[in-house]
């Protein structure tokens, strides 16, 4: 069986990234590698290209990686990193999801746990934009 798609959660807050990873991991049943990239390199609120890069490496298991960012400026960090090309060798490729952070992370992890493809996982995360809570 092919490896599951890896998930990277990029947040301005280390606690938010790791807490969301914990929650999504529990809902998904623990079968997926979820890597958190939260905060700056010196522990402040913000984002770090170095953290995102190492998280992508950690989450990659051969079937691609979906990155879920928390707020718009996380996207800037991820896009700049991807444009550098240093992660072009990640097998299966990398996709950046336009999705709400918690819902997108949970939907992505559950779909990855079920053996979904990179596109399936990306679509599940992005469909979370339409999910209502009430």
């Amino acid at each position: 069986m092919a490896a599951t798609v890896g998930i990277v959660l990029v947040s301005h807050s280390a606690a938010l990234a790791s807490g969301t990873a914990e929650l999504a991991g529990q809902v998904g049943g623990g079968a997926v590698t979820i890597a958190a990239a939260g905060g700056t390199d010196d522990g402040r609120l913000g984002t770090s290209a170095a953290k995102v890069e190492s998280a992508v490496r950690a989450a990659s298991a051969g079937s691609g990686v979906v990155i879920v960012p928390d707020l718009g400026s996380s996207v800037l960090t991820v896009r700049a990193l991807l444009a550098d090309g240093d992660l072009d060798d990640v097998p299966g490729g990398i996709q950046l999801a336009d999705a709400p952070f918690v819902e997108g992370a949970v939907a992505a992890v559950v779909t990855a746990a079920a053996g979904g493809s990179l596109k399936d996982v990306l679509d599940a995360a992005q469909e979370a934009r339409n999910a209502r809570k009430l």
Binding site: G28, G29, V106, V110, A113, A114, A131
Partner: protein
């Protein structure tokens, strides 16, 4: 253990998929539906277990509870059902592996809500 019923098709999305793989739409395919009463609330972890189980089948699988309906493969939709302990939940599947899908979902639902996880 395979209560197939051709209950009124309540699928809202117009499931007009042609049978994949060219399997003659006799044999194991078709429509299956069963109802159980939840032993515990359908919280996040049970919803996750259920959606992971549902995604392994080709058939479309829907849950109905309390007048709401959800695609069982969408964990967020399943959570949004807000189904509490004691609620009857109907699992209906349509497709080539419908019967197996309903069995698997019911097993996942029973196991995940019995433990009282949140």
């Amino acid at each position: 253990m395979h209560a197939s019923s051709e209950s009124a098709d309540r699928a809202a999305g117009g499931a007009a998929d042609s049978a994949p793989g060219g399997a003659a739409d006799s044999a194991p395919g078709g429509i299956a539906e069963r109802t159980i009463t939840l032993a515990g609330d359908l919280h996040a972890r049970p919803a996750g277990a259920l959606s992971v189980a549902a995604a392994k089948f080709t058939s479309s699988v829907r849950l109905t509870a309390g007048g709401r309906e959800a695609d069982a493969k969408s964990v967020l939709a399943v959570m949004q059902l807000g189904a509490a302990a004691g609620t009857p939940v109907t699992v209906s599947a349509s497709g080539p592996d419908a019967s197996g899908a309903v069995d698997a979902i019911l097993a996942a639902l029973a196991a995940a809500t019995r433990t009282g996880e949140s």
